[in-house]
């Protein structure tokens, strides 16, 4: 297994570690390709690996006892999954899967727990990331209660846009409907509204962000706080 060079790693958390602390764990990191649709965790199943994405996007999805689904959170190069591992929890609480083709460094659950116990910098970074993720979750929850579909969609597109290079996001209306827990025609209508305002272009199987500042202004009540908090939490850590 090739040991990664910290300088070339695109995962924010791993790149923040002081070099000596990174050295301690670098041998435990395995590079993997995760195409769209890959499941990296199922609710109730043991956590085999922790994933630090270097590209792409993953989703954490809640499924209710009667089979209803909604996305709880999104992660990319900014974080890691599953966050529950820092609490020494061994089972996945949610379904986690990849929604935009990703690459990642993964670490076994045992190696992760060992690093948490022996590497102060590592545990500091992942605990901070878990807090940042909790904040994202809380704002998603609030947005789901307060904002209409169009605004929630705008927020979601901005969050995706933050995590991909370029302006294109590959996804179907059906997929968006599942993530936002609405009916597909509501997605179609909302995309149409955002397109009418010039913020995006909606094409078969993808959305292209055309006016990021405009989209952000439109979603100003729904998007931005978790991202500010993340920047604040990850600054001057070491």
């Amino acid at each position: 297994m090739e040991t990664p060079l910290q300088a070339t790693i695109s995962n924010k958390l791993l790149s923040l570690l002081p070099p000596d602390d990174f050295e301690q764990i670098s041998g435990k990191l395995e590079h993997v390709l995760l195409p769209r649709g890959t499941s990296i965790g199922k609710s109730g199943q043991p956590i085999d690996y922790l994933y630090f994405l270097t590209s792409g996007i993953g989703s954490i999805v809640v499924e209710t006892p009667e089979g209803h689904r909604a996305e709880a959170g999104m992660f990319g190069f900014d974080g890691y999954v599953p966050t529950s591992a820092v609490a020494d929890v061994e089972l996945h609480a949610h379904d986690v899967s990849i929604q935009v083709d990703a690459e990642a460094y993964r670490m076994s659950f045992a190696d992760f727990r060992h690093a948490m116990e022996t590497n102060r910098s590592f545990s500091r970074v992942v605990i901070r990331a878990m807090e940042a993720f909790s904040i994202q979750l809380s704002y998603t929850l609030a947005s789901n209660a307060i904002h209409d579909v169009t605004e929630r969609l705008a927020r979601w597109l901005l969050m995706c846009h933050d995590r991909v290079p370029g302006d294109e996001i590959a996804l179907t209306h059906e997929y968006l409907a599942v993530m936002l827990a609405v009916r597909r025609p509501s997605v179609t209508t909302s995309l149409h509204l955002l397109e009418g305002s010039g913020f995006i272009k909606s094409e078969r199987g993808k959305v292209i962000v055309r006016n990021r500042p405009g989209l952000q202004e439109f979603a100003r009540d729904a998007y931005g706080r978790p991202e500010e908090e993340y920047r604040r939490l990850m600054k001057d850590l070491f």
């Binding site: 209409d148 009916r183 597909r184 025609p185 179609t188 149409h192």
Partner: protein, 83 residues
């Protein structure tokens, strides 16, 4: 029973929002039911924000763009009021 793809276009005086993706159903009746559920969600959202619903229709079409069924939002809301 084979699945067919149905397209749900939303039409009102301002124009039509085209559904370019569609969804699969086993029958037109199943598609119609899905369309009614979608209308309920769309209409409820519009009521909440005070938007006009007036003359909005959901046209259920096949791949050839033939309109198989046209359902008015007004009709769906009136059905609800009768309950």
């Amino acid at each position: 029973m084979s699945m067919k793809r149905y397209y749900f276009h939303i039409r009102d005086e301002g124009g039509t929002v085209l559904d370019e993706e569609g969804e699969e159903h086993r029958s037109l009746e199943e598609a119609r039911q899905s369309a009614v559920d979608a209308i309920k969600e769309l209409a409820a959202a519009r009521i909440r924000t005070g938007e006009v619903i007036g003359n909005t229709f959901l046209d259920v079409c096949d791949e050839t763009d033939a309109v198989l069924k046209s359902i008015s939002f007004r009709q769906v809301i009136e059905e609800q009021l009768k309950r």
